[in-house]
């Protein structure tokens, strides 16, 4: 009995924290608790704002933010359109270019030795600092934001796709060769399915970075978009509007991330979850 409890307690502590797996019924508590915590924080926020008479410029209560959100929702949605479209375009560009370059790196040792260390270096340096340069080069239109955002989220895709392609089972590749499969066939049937988890983990980082890139671009040069609206509202000290815009932005971020995660599920099911 004592041993049982010891074992079960150790297990409970050592249980891996699951990020992607959906919780089962047994873990209902694990679903309710985070929501309850978030709800409690909101409630506390509301009460503190009411009791301590915090000026709404500093911190508006959640109820006021909800009211403001309802009030300016059409404006926010109007600004959300360019932000979402720019993020998606940048993400698509970066993913496509990243996977193509990763293929080149995989198939040519020369390209790999030349480029890969430089790509890893670029991953480390603060690429954000280049944002104003993109404005100098491409103007203040959405092209400059798309280019900048694609530039920032391109590197995680290349690096994870390259590592993914390299992780393919060597004996499966050898089998393909001995069955006289062409390079293209062995890529499509072996390397690509093996690389899918890595590619998608790169794409999940990329979609987050794409939104961040577009927002930074909108901070420094824009006439529309949620980043522009947030900066505009902060210059008017309209804190409730900032929060409302942040809420919409978070929803967009979560929806885009969710879309990539759903695509991963779908594609991996299609490939039979290897």
């Amino acid at each position: 009995m004592a041993v049982d409890t010891i074992v079960s307690r150790t297990r409970a502590v050592a249980a891996p924290i699951s990020v992607t797996n959906l919780p089962t019924l047994r873990q209902l508590r694990a679903v309710i608790l985070p929501f309850a915590t978030a709800g409690a924080v909101l409630l506390l926020w509301q009460i503190v704002c009411g009791l301590a008479h915090i000026p709404p410029v500093i911190l508006p209560p959640p109820s006021e933010i909800a009211g403001e959100l309802w009030h300016i929702l059409p404006v926010l949605l109007h600004h959300a359109v360019p932000t979402t479209l720019d993020s998606l375009t940048a993400f698509a560009l970066a993913s496509a270019l990243g996977i193509v370059l990763a293929m080149a790196i995989t198939y040519s040792p020369l390209v790999r030795d030349m480029l890969f260390p430089n790509l890893v270096l670029f991953q480390i340096i603060p690429k954000v600092a280049l944002a104003p340069l993109f404005v100098v080069w491409l103007g203040i239109s959405s092209e400059s934001r798309i280019a900048f955002s694609a530039f920032t989220c391109f590197f995680p895709v290349v690096i994870s796709a390259t590592l993914g392609f390299a992780s393919a089972d060597a004996s499966a590749l050898r089998l393909c060769k001995s069955l006289t499969a062409s390079d293209w066939q062995s890529f499509l049937l072996v390397r690509f399915p093996y690389a899918l988890p890595a590619i998608f983990s790169g794409m999940k980082i990329a979609i987050t970075m794409a939104v961040i890139g577009v927002i930074i671009g909108e901070f420094i040069s824009a006439k529309a978009g949620l980043g522009f609206y947030i900066l505009y509202a902060s210059s008017r000290m309209d804190t409730a509007a900032i929060f409302a815009a942040l809420f919409v932005l978070c929803m967009i971020g979560l929806a885009l991330f969710g879309a990539v995660a759903l695509a991963e599920r779908y594609v991996r099911q299609h490939y039979g979850r290897r």
Partner: protein, 278 residues
């Protein structure tokens, strides 16, 4: 024979140190050679095509700015570097502490952890203007932006590391009546070390992003401010020079974290235990 060799060499590891001098020269020489070649091509392109220096200054022009008045760049680099280090240190400290809390209390973990993971996904950088409303223009709000961005990868990574300790070893410690603290110091922490450093590597990069964006939108000093100011004045060479300095700061901080990891590995005696990693 050749087929087998070909297939074996295909999934080769990247950057693995070569056995021969030739291989070593290739892994170091090729990437450096490519980088140098790109810079030379850039210089030639600028000279031959007469590209306006406002659009794309030649590398030599950037070098002139770097060597011409290094004092200004160093003076501006100082606050930026300090802000980055401070926000990285705070984010690491708070992140590791919260991760320890998450690991030891199931209630805290289940209540907070999913919210933290959600925060990983949303574009936190958008909160930067809010910090300015709260903390005013200047270093305090810039550091807060950096901390806020660098904090989440630290927590998630450390928490993942702390729960990855080998359950058998933990059980053994229990049967040898080790205290909770002993188990933590002797088992959990060493197991978590690779994860903590992985989180710190992401964190130091994130802290830089936060500080630079903070300087873009609020600062009166710092490299981010210089970049914004120079780019609006059309002095692209100065922008690039500031970026070069910034990259230098970024790479040295990243290198310091790497050195720290190396030192800790040595301290724990060679390879860190990595069995049971996810």
């Amino acid at each position: 024979m050749t087929i087998a060799q070909n297939t074996v060499s295909l999934p080769g590891r990247f950057g693995a140190g070569g056995e021969t001098v030739l291989r070593f020269g290739r892994t170091i020489g090729l990437p450096v050679g490519f980088a140098v070649l790109s810079v030379v091509a850039w210089e030639i392109l600028c000279r031959v095509a007469h590209i306006s220096p406002e659009l794309l200054p030649a590398p030599s022009a950037v070098w002139d700015v770097l060597t011409g008045n290094p004092r200004i760049l160093i003076e501006q680099a100082l606050p930026t570097a300090i802000e980055i280090v401070v926000s990285f240190a705070i984010a690491s400290g708070v992140g590791v502490l919260l991760a320890i809390g998450i690991t030891f209390s199931v209630a805290i973990r289940e209540a907070i952890y999913p919210n933290i993971v959600m925060f990983q996904v949303i574009p936190k950088i958008a909160l930067a203007p809010l910090f300015i409303v709260w903390l005013g223009v200047g270093g305090k709000s810039i550091v807060t932006v950096g901390v806020f961005i660098a904090f989440f990868p630290m927590v998630v990574s450390t928490a993942t590391g702390l729960v990855s300790a080998n359950p058998d070893v933990l059980q053994l410690c229990r049967s040898l009546t080790a205290s909770e603290w002993q188990r933590f110091v002797l088992v959990r922490f060493p197991y978590a070390m690779p994860y903590i450093f992985a989180g710190m590597k992401v964190g130091v990069t994130m802290a830089m992003i936060g500080v630079i964006v903070g300087e873009f939108i609020t600062a009166q000093a710092g490299l981010g401010y210089i970049i914004m100011f120079a780019s609006s004045a059309g002095e692209t060479a100065t922008v690039l020079a500031a970026i070069v300095v910034l990259c230098g700061i970024g790479l040295s901080l990243y290198g310091l974290v790497g050195l720290g990891e190396f030192a800790v590995r040595r301290w724990y005696g060679g390879e860190l235990p990595t069995s049971g990693l996810v």
